[in-house]
Amino acid sequence: MPRSLVFLLIAIFALHCSRTPPSDSKKKSIELIQSDTVVLEQGTQLFGKFYEHMRISQDGSYWLFNERIRNQIFVFKSDGSFYSVIGKKGRGPDELLTVSSFDINKNNEVAIFDGSQRMLKIFTLDGRLISSNNILENADFSLVPHYLRWYKGKLAGTIIDLDSRFEPYNSRLLALINDDGSTDAVFGKFDRFSKQDHRETFVSLLAVDEDNNVAYTNLQSSPYFQIYDLESFERILYGGEMTEAFNKPSQVVTPQTSLSKIMLLVENTSVFAHIFLTDEYFIQHMQILTKEWFDTSDYTAKENILVFYDRETNEFIKEVKVDGITPLAIQNGKMYAVENFDPDHFTIGIYEINTKTE
């Protein structure tokens, strides 16, 4: 049921920005105002768990989620009603083994990268196969999971060079893939922050502005971001800053570290879960891995912070803490966030991002 502009529980506060000199852009006040709450309907095919990723059709009327157990894309209408399931298990043309990443374009075509089969499959929203092609044949890089974005008929993805897995800072960063699966271009430089980070992270988040031909990337463990020109493949900016809430582990965490020790080492440290673009802002979604989250496994117990940068000046504006919700997507000035992860009551809140200049 739509709710009329209910002021959110979200405390809007700029965490003390003492590390940054004041500037005009910091006089902006950013408010998140809840405009709707939608519970997703369990359809004829039950969903059990979604990855924390959501893609939205351009007009906002279809919502897509990657189901973790079934490895299929679940499509819902914006009122929460079940619409379709894309893909079924198997190795056939319209079948999938793993949904590594996916995206929807302006024509409502859904691209799915099946990492297990190394195939790029394109479907209609109702699950009809448009094309199925091999991808990354003889490639010297891997696409990282979850970050594939349509860009003018091609697909942009963040990557890791195969020979840089243990020294990711030597890797290139981005690839453009044609819709037939062939590689168009590989470019960019991995975030050098990975050299000083204590986590062996090689996932770079990606957001693409198709109209302005730019891609923003952000290493999952890094407070810094990069902007690339998607026509010249040149880097426009290495920007961002270590904001107040950012905290990295004090000791090295490796894949060999036991989970119980990892829990201790990463408690209260930050990771970046998403990056978003609006006309005005570049927004990092930072999560703090709280003790409460480790104690309860309640996803909403992670602390979520949105870090706002001005897209015109690239200056840091403020950190905004959002309580009890997990942002998944921002489109057309609206933020979509999970309020309840229980598959029987999976709830998305919709929030308007309002700016006031003080």
């Binding site: 969903f47 768990k49 973790r68 079934r70 793993t98 297990s116 036991s258 829990m263 029987d344």
Partner: protein, 146 residues
């Protein structure tokens, strides 16, 4: 194979020292005080969203459990929501008995270094063998220590 058997015990050495009592207390905790004996039991410990090789091995264990009179196979799934587990079991068509660890207690108690893993408890209820799930998917070879 030789390397696998030989290396496994060293890598997981601290976890072979966990006592039957520690494990049974843990199962009791996550199952609402159910009294269990882990004697001659294989516990498959995983999350609800494991990768394809692990799922293939689970199905082998499911088949093995239906045919075995001497060894009991059960699962521990680290997952908050019951529906998530139900969808998992239905979708993968697995009939094994499941204990749900909704708060990742197993990790906090440091009973295993990671997931997905399988643990074989011998006749005395002590940990007899540990191994990742998805790397050696033949139940008979695992049980017989091959």
């Amino acid at each position: 194979m030789i390397c696998f058997s030989g290396c496994g015990k060293d890598t997981y050495a601290p976890y072979y020292e966990k006592t039957a009592n520690e494990w049974e207390q843990y199962i009791s905790e996550i199952s609402d005080k159910e009294e269990v004996s882990l004697s001659n039991t294989v516990l498959l410990v995983l999350t609800s969203s494991e990768c394809t090789p692990s799922i293939a091995e689970l199905k082998n264990w499911d088949t093995f459990n239906k045919e075995s009179d001497s060894v009991n196979v059960q699962m521990v799934i680290l997952e908050k929501y019951i529906t998530t587990i139900q969808v998992f079991l239905d979708y993968e068509n697995i009939d094994l008995h499941v204990y749900r660890d909704s708060a990742y207690t197993l990790i906090k108690k440091d009973l295993l270094p990671t997931t997905p893993m399988k643990v074989y408890f011998g006749k005395e209820g002590r940990v007899k063998k540990l191994s990742p799930i998805g790397t050696n998917n033949d139940p008979v070879k695992f049980i017989n220590g091959l």
